[in-house]
């Protein structure tokens, strides 16, 4: 098997992460924001996998599993919150939910 350079893998993770981040910044729809967070989490997991593969250690994959677990829990709670927000505000616009304004 040919070697995949670690730089390329990390760069991919970085690009995906930043795409997710751009999305969080530019989208107002709260579901899109949730999706973008998933992208970012996934990118982070990718970085772990790349590192694990580079050093041939299982730890990277273990971290990915934990990230996966966390993402699952997060998305379920997040979706429940989105439902609540939608029911109360009748919109998915996250800017409307700015009651914590200082």
């Amino acid at each position: 098997m040919n070697a995949v350079s670690m730089e390329a893998g990390l760069l991919l993770a970085g690009i995906l992460f930043l795409l997710g981040m751009i999305s969080v910044m530019i989208r107002r729809n709260i579901i899109f924001m949730l999706i973008s967070v998933e992208i970012m989490l996934n990118a982070a997991g990718l970085a772990f996998i790349v590192a694990g593969s580079r050093w041939v250690q299982p730890d990277g994959q273990i971290m990915f599993i934990f990230i996966l677990t966390m993402a699952a829990a997060e998305v379920s709670v997040g979706l429940a919150l989105i439902l609540q927000i939608y029911h109360q505000l009748k919109t998915l616009n996250s800017d409307t939910a700015n009651f914590m304004k200082g």
Binding site: R28, S94, D95, A97, N98, M100, K101, G102
Partner: protein, 631 residues
């Protein structure tokens, strides 16, 4: 006879005790008891004074001294509560206790209707006590205690009828202006302490001569500072403005405090510290000059007053001016002599005025009086005696002898000058004019106000006694070409050095006496012309604009009140009110505002918009990475 001297402390202690009792129980005991405590304590003091005086005269010790307790002692500074009685103090406590006692008796009737009867007597007793401490103190700090104590009583009694805001204002004015003088005096005390390490009067008097030469700078400065205190208390230029306003108090107060005793404390101070003043000829000159100017200014101001008590107030200022004049040329005993005579006749005049005011339902304006000669004969005759004494009516009145002595010494004394003499003579002329103006307006002409209250014994007896004293008091000190009685100056000679007279001047003395007599009689005649026989003369003056402008100027006391008001009072009040909110607090408030501004800025970043937070995180990440790359 040690026993009598041991009673020394009782003289001031009794009035203090009386005051204390009246303060504590005054509201709960009957008026009779208040009277008994109030007058009784002063009376007993007077009796002890008399006994002591007799003993003093018979045994002729240098002085009596009694230390009651050691006040405090710090780093070699140990003033005592100790009394020192010599001839000078003797004269003063004699006047204070006796005149004070008479005025207390008088007050029992004058104040009979007043609701605050016991408060009045408490204050009066406190005053007598403080005044006695002042003149009997053996050190300057204790003197200062009495000095401020009488100031307090003066404040309390001027503001006795406190519900009238003007009275309270006058009281405050009196206290503050005298405090200005006291401050100068306090600084003088600091300097004396620094120089001598003590404030004991005898020690200072003996050591000053060794420490300083005549004209030494320290001595001059100290003398001027003490003079500041004296000027404040005695209502001399430039701190005289409080005294006319002080007439807001009850008339017995004016008689006791603002005529007979307290205002002469300045005279006492200068006489007491004469050693220092003798070392400072410049200060002596200043004393004389202040006296001369004051006696003229106050005399002319008195000419134009309509309020009976204000005329007397200005005349008091003027007469104290004479005393200063005497002190200024070193005629110590002449000054003290005039003090004593003045105490008699001025108390008499005030008490008469009080009787009139009481009779006329608290009317003080002379223009509304008149014709009282027949309706109040006792008051008229005693007032006439007092007026004669004030105007120095030749030969029969005590005032003639005391004032003549002062005038004579202006020329004959080594330090005297023609100018001072001329000022004194002009003052004497003015004095007799305004005195008899007062007599003629008040007692002659037709009655304008109904006489309500006829004086009873409590008023008449003090008047008669003081009248007798005003007539006869002068005969204990007569000019040497005219009986040559020198009882008084002999009495004082151990304490106060005699003035040195220019030799060969004696033969002119009779001329000067005649001149003084003529001036006095001339003044009376002019008053007679203007106010009794030819009122049209007065009317012609009233038509002249210039004369009226001068009249108004004199009436306002030469505009000093206005001057001080614009120069000092208003700026101070303005400054205080402008800064009421405290600019320095503004600085801290500003600091708080700035912090609050930063808080608002930071709080604005808390927009509640999730996307902005993410953007913030990104910016933060970029910054951290940039820093880590470039470092």
């Amino acid at each position: 006879m040690k026993a009598m001297a041991d009673l020394l402390w009782l003289i001031p202690a009794l009035p203090f005790a009386g005051a204390l009792l009246l303060v504590l129980f005054g509201n709960r005991i009957s008026r009779g008891l208040v009277t008994a405590i109030g007058t009784g304590s002063v009376g007993v003091s007077a009796a002890i004074t008399l006994l002591l005086g007799i003993e003093y005269l018979s045994s002729q010790p240098a002085y009596y001294h009694q230390e009651v307790w050691n006040w405090f002692s710090v780093a070699g500074f140990n003033p005592s509560i100790a009394f020192h009685l010599d001839a000078l103090s003797m004269v003063f406590i004699f006047v204070i206790t006796f005149v004070g006692f008479l005025i207390h008796i008088y007050s029992t009737e004058y104040m009979a209707e007043d609701a605050d009867y016991s408060r009045f007597f408490a204050c009066m007793n406190l005053f007598v006590g403080s005044m006695l401490v002042l003149v009997m103190a053996d050190n300057l700090l204790l003197l200062y205690l009495g000095w401020e104590g009488v100031g307090l009583c003066s404040y309390l009694l001027i503001g006795f009828w406190y519900k009238e805001p003007a009275n309270g204002y006058a009281a405050r004015k009196a206290f503050i202006i005298t405090r200005v003088g006291d401050t100068a005096m306090a600084i003088g005390l600091f300097m004396l302490f620094q120089a001598f390490g003590t404030l004991h009067i005898q020690t200072i008097s003996t050591e000053a001569v060794q420490l300083w030469d005549t004209g030494a700078q320290m001595a001059v400065i100290i003398a001027f500072l003490l003079l500041g205190g004296a000027v404040g208390k005695s209502g001399q230029l430039p701190l005289q403005t409080w005294l006319p306003d002080a007439m807001a108090g009850p008339t017995p107060v004016s008689a006791l405090i603002h005529a007979a005793t307290m205002v002469t404390a300045g005279v006492y101070l200068i006489a007491r510290m004469h050693v220092i003043f003798e070392l400072a000829p410049v200060a002596m000159m200043a004393v004389a000059a202040i006296g001369a100017v004051t006696l003229l200014i106050a005399g002319f101001a008195a000419l134009t007053q309509y309020d009976l008590k204000r005329v007397l107030a200005y005349s008091t200022i003027s007469q104290i001016g004479y005393m200063f004049l005497a002190l200024g040329v070193g005629a110590w005993s002449a000054g003290v002599f005039h003090f004593m005579i003045h105490a008699f006749f001025k108390a008499l005049l005030f008490l008469c005025a009080g009787a009139i005011i009481l009779a006329l339902h608290h009317e003080q304006d002379m223009r509304k009086m008149g014709g009282l000669r027949t309706s109040m004969p006792v008051v008229f005759w005693t007032f006439l005696i007092g007026a004669a004494s004030l105007a120095a009516f030749p030969l029969v009145s005590a005032g003639f002898y005391s004032k003549d002595q002062i005038l004579w010494l202006q020329l004959a004394g080594e330090n005297g000058s023609v100018w001072l003499y001329a000022a004194g003579l002009l003052g004497a002329f003015v004095t007799s004019i305004y005195t008899f103006r007062m007599v003629f307006i008040t007692f002659y002409g037709e009655a304008k106000t109904h006489v309500g209250h006829q004086p009873t014994m409590a008023i008449k007896v003090p008047l008669i006694i003081l009248g007798v004293l005003s007539l006869l008091g002068g005969f204990i000190e007569l000019p040497h070409n005219f009986g040559h009685v020198v009882l008084f100056s002999d009495f004082l000679s151990p304490i106060l050095p005699a003035v040195s007279v220019v030799p060969g001047f004696d033969q002119y003395e009779w001329m000067l006496q005649v001149l003084a007599a003529v001036v006095s009689l001339g003044g009376i005649y002019i008053a007679y012309l203007f106010y009794l026989s030819k009122p049209e003369l007065l009317a012609s003056i009233h038509r002249s604009n210039t004369a009226m402008a001068v009249h108004r100027f004199w009436h306002s006391g030469w505009g000093f009140d206005k001057l001080y008001d614009t120069l000092l009072v208003r700026p101070y009040v303005f400054l205080a009110n402008v800064n009421k909110r405290d600019v320095i607090d503004g600085f801290y408030t500003g600091l708080a505002r700035v912090a609050e501004g930063f808080h608002m800025m930071l709080s604005d970043t808390q927009s509640g918009v999730l996307r902005n937070y993410v953007a913030g995180i990104v910016v933060g990440a970029i910054m951290i990475l940039t820093i880590s790359i470039f470092l």
